[in-house]
Homo-oligomer: 473 residues x 3
């Protein structure tokens, strides 16, 4: 809707010419796309070019002048040339004095130059008001106009009025401006479009590592062991049976990894007796990717759920069940219903379903629009209380699945315990540590520390000039 609104024919003469003339330096691809979009939104566009006569492919209805002539006709100049060629603006410093220079450039690599392009431009023309904007919007998005991503335009500048003028233009083009503060932010703004899921890299690496490890482990215990000892080819297990062991184990470990840093942080704060010392870097980084870790864990839980539900459809499973029935009939045996067995299997399935349900709930609340609609207390309630409930349910699901098999060494193959036994180590540790931390005496101390209390080196509690604000958690 918003996009369509700006797909309009140019505004009629008078209104546009006085108020709405913009100048674009550079007749390259981006300059052309930007100019076309500006025209369609009712602006008059004047291009500044080195060789005004030879510029081609420009949208109809624009003027092409020399740089200085073009700049003199507008208060706002978009610089759509590569950083390497910025130097030409130094010659124009007189005509650019007091004008708004919009730097739309991007780099090819993150942190390519010591200072951002916008800061560099500001150094070249100290008299101009440099605004960084539009670099997050591609030429293609400007042309097609209806893409979902790329609506966001990050704007930053040291001059507040210039920034607001550019933000108004952004809005008129049907895009959404985001005030990013001063030009200090321009480096981050320039790096932004070059990023490819930076927060997801660590969680995905951890996940991939665990997946490979546990897959190989299961391959050895399930396929290779059987091939070596029983000389039976069960390699078809690679398609479903083994993944359906790998997914739940990795998922549970990842979910536990989401809650370890919180436990570590509490232990560190307890030990130091203050919350005002920074955590070690690795813990900080870990804490920042908890959401991503949790979502990767959820996706594995989702796969585990479906892989489990297809079990009765599989040819192998049907064949095994048929064989079992036929064998029973041939032997003329009848196995009565085992009540304990019925309880146990139903309970572990029910625990798994409930765990998955809360897993999904956690995932939904981490959607940006949902987490924006809840307050801090509610967010913490969901992510912490429901999160631990999920961990407890899923760990219970795994424990109930293992039942009495944990201790039966007869099930070990080549002295290797079943994979899920290994997978339970971290989750159980986390839960035990958390249980210790929420004992009243420790819990009270942590709460005090998080409210700003400090263990005084001299043994006296620290005294502040003012009364501390009550705890906000």
């Amino acid at each position: 809707m918003e996009a369509n609104c700006s797909n309009m024919t140019p505004l009629s003469s008078d209104f546009a010419q006085k108020e709405n003339t913009v100048c674009i330096f550079g007749t390259g691809d981006y300059g052309r796309s930007l100019g076309l979009k500006m025209l369609q939104s009712g602006f008059s566009v004047i291009y500044g070019s080195r060789n005004p006569s030879s510029a081609s492919l420009l949208p109809k209805g624009v003027e092409v002048l020399s740089h200085s002539e073009a700049a003199s006709k507008s208060h706002i100049i978009f610089v759509a040339v590569q950083r390497d060629h910025y130097s030409f603006v130094t010659k124009l410093s007189r005509v650019l004095e007091g004008k708004i220079l919009v730097d739309v450039s991007n780099n090819l690599k993150i942190n390519q130059y010591p200072e951002s392009n916008a800061e560099y431009l500001a150094q070249l023309v100290p008299g101009a008001k440099v605004v960084k904007a539009f670099n997050t919007v591609s030429a293609w998005a400007l042309q097609s106009g209806t893409l979902d991503a790329s609506r966001q335009v990050f704007v930053c500048s040291n001059d507040s009025k210039a920034k607001h003028a550019v933000m108004d233009i952004v809005r008129t083009l049907g895009l959404t401006p985001h005030d990013q503060g001063s030009l200090l932010a321009s480096k981050e703004v320039e790096n932004y479009p070059l990023q490819l899921f930076p927060m997801w890299r660590l969680p995905l690496c951890i996940c991939a590592g665990l997946t490979v490890l546990i897959f190989l482990y299961c391959l050895i215990t399930d396929v290779i062991y059987t091939a070596a000892t029983e000389e039976k080819d069960v390699s078809f297990r690679i398609a479903i049976s083994i993944p359906n062991k790998v997914f739940p184990i990795v998922s549970l470990i990842l979910l536990a990894l989401v809650y370890i840093p919180g436990v570590f942080a509490a232990i560190i704060q307890l030990h130091r007796g203050t919350k005002y010392k920074r955590f070690p870097d690795w813990l900080d980084r870990w804490m920042l990717c908890r959401k991503q870790l949790g979502l990767v864990a959820l996706s594995y839980a989702f796969l585990h759920a479906i892989y489990t539900l297809v079990i009765p459809i599989r040819y192998y499973v049907r064949h095994r069940i048929n064989s079992y029935i036929i064998t029973q009939i041939r032997k003329n045996e009848t196995s009565p219903l085992d009540n304990t067995m019925a309880w146990r299997t139903d309970a572990y399935i029910a625990l798994g379903i409930l765990g998955f349900f809360f897993y999904v709930l956690l995932g939904i609340t981490s959607l940006p629009s949902v987490s924006n609609a809840v307050n801090w207390r509610e967010f913490r309630f969901v992510q912490s209380k429901l999160g631990y409930l999920t961990l407890v349910l899923c760990t219970g699901h795994a424990l109930m699945f293992g039942w009495d098999k944990f201790l039966s060494f007869s099930r070990f193959r080549w002295y290797l315990p079943p994979a899920y036994t290994l997978g339970l180590v971290i989750p159980c540790t986390v839960l035990v540590l958390k249980l210790i931390l929420i004992t009243p005496c420790l819990d009270r101390r942590i709460t005090k520390i998080r409210q700003g209390w400090e263990k005084s080196p001299t043994g006296k509690p620290s005294e502040n000039g003012d009364v501390p604000l009550q705890c906000k958690l």
Copy 2:
């Protein structure tokens, strides 16, 4: 991204000192966190304290002065002390004259005081422009800077310029300001962070009540009856079989409860002949929690779906099927394919799946970001038309499941009909009432009333000075 942008080193000297000095009253936890964040975003920070010499733990690079000295150096003063200690500002009323006072405080309980903290502060210093802000952001969120929740900062003030100045600061800190109007809103703004899903309380209570009720009912008819009459222990049904009766029944009732208030409202409007009288309070409250009721219903439908899909994996089910086959073989019987049975079971499964599909669709469209992207007509189409389609499909699913069992008293246990029979009462009533309401004659009348028409007490239609705007529904 936005958050990162503000994790920067302080701005270089000149620029910052003149424009960007803020004062913070209070050196407690929140004052310190706020000051640190301000410093990182390029502000100069001056603390005002009762005992400037004894203030400790403050971030590096700040000044600590007496309250009046600090206030005189900045146009914006953040009051980060507890409400109980606000009285000290009365002594500063001269120096605070015309300045912006930002109240960041929270209370411990909802509606703790007769007036909001911000209004109280405004009464103490009538010459200052009091702005309520930042109370939704916790000290922890300010420090860590990258949390998903808590980006929203609600801002309200009677002075529009002061409000916009504070909103600019909020943006510079990488947070999202929301204009909430005048200080009248401050009470709601102060209550907001103390809320824990207030809109969800009623729906969750209704859901919990129904769940317990129907669970006990099923426990009696399924487990206790069997134990009493057949002396068989089928307690394992508690894990999956009974929940898988409770979930669909409660889900269907809740879905019907979503559509009852609309039906009631139409009946009341029809009876009164006007839409300009307020509905009774209970109906208003019911209407406001329809979305939450629907989402609880969806989560139960989700659980029902998974509980149903795991059926063939259960030990008990496999055992029963095996026994059945073995019995058939022993008896040398063959049951031919029953076409009616095949149709019936397939139809009720298909109805259930389609119902669940539209259920999920309704859930997705109630995500904030999705419902913001559709217009009023589209939203109504989805929530009303698709909602009723879902109710029809799910009720049909239950009816088809029951088939001819509704009337067979032989299935009653201790004179108790099967639980799903009871569960169908409300949905069927709603559908019948709705069917009556959409008969042309009633529908026309309701439409007229909703367009503003009124049944005149004297029998004549009311006449307005102006032509009523056409119906917007």
Copy 3:
């Protein structure tokens, strides 16, 4: 929260009367609802009416005056009358000079009049500053105040200050203003609330057409053929078996249709040697509804997944399995485990699950709030790379399902090949074309063209005055 904040009692005397008086022309339904909402948000409301004495049903606390008297008391006048009655404002042109006129009207049909209502109003009173706003909010939403949809208020005007004044009012009422630029946009703003999923119409039509076609095809080959040749009634297949063929086939075709326009566009660009010529209209329209096509495909994939998972619950399936076992026993046969078969079925199930997983991932990233949180590069990565991965996995799933049946004419019924064979034609074609396009030589050429390079008609590459900005893709 935001909505509640404005459900307040009117502001106390002094403050409100001077600053916050608004005038509403029209005492119809919308005028009344708007006035009530304004009152609740602290405004003084004065109604302008033809017959001030006879106006009824107005909220308490408002004044009703003649049009000109009312207009003279406020700077902002809301025109809540139907377009047909706008002419009365011409008589008021003197008193309306320089004032803000807010057009809140809607039409009954899209593009009902040659010019928008707001433009018509602006022509009638050239001296007033006309702002289009509030038409997206229904009278009902204003009254109830807490609806999810309808928070968005699109605002447009040729006068920037008037626009911002109205946007401030919108915010004060607890709604979200969206700047839509000049009055040129008013036509789109007026059409907006009349739309019913315009972008979804084409995808849903395509989907419905394909569904009917393939359903009939399957009906012929599965039910009618069996009835005609074997005289067996298998009509119960209509409920689940046939839909579970239709859904995956249509889903796969639709997914392929999402990626065809990109392939076509690349071929056209390669052939023309430039990206600066417009694509044919049909291709443009196709490209714009790719997201919707993909989501329809996802919903069918979702249905296919559930329809598949319920297979073992179906009476018909259980009966067939039982019969098979009983037959085997009677014949005293034993079928050994077929390793190839185990591999094949497990592999096609696993491919299907993985394909569905990425399908869901694509769906989640197309949620507005998620796609807003990723940058252009990340969005493209997900939608293009993961999209093709999904297509490959799902096509592989179908191919593996078919296995060696594609070539066995014995399975043809009435010379008709199985439906899935037909369904695979388009997906395979797309994949082959894409494979050709990503060969290094073609890929390099397309990349160059998309960076703005042009095949010069004289054989020389075009030269621009400025260096083209580097590729943003």
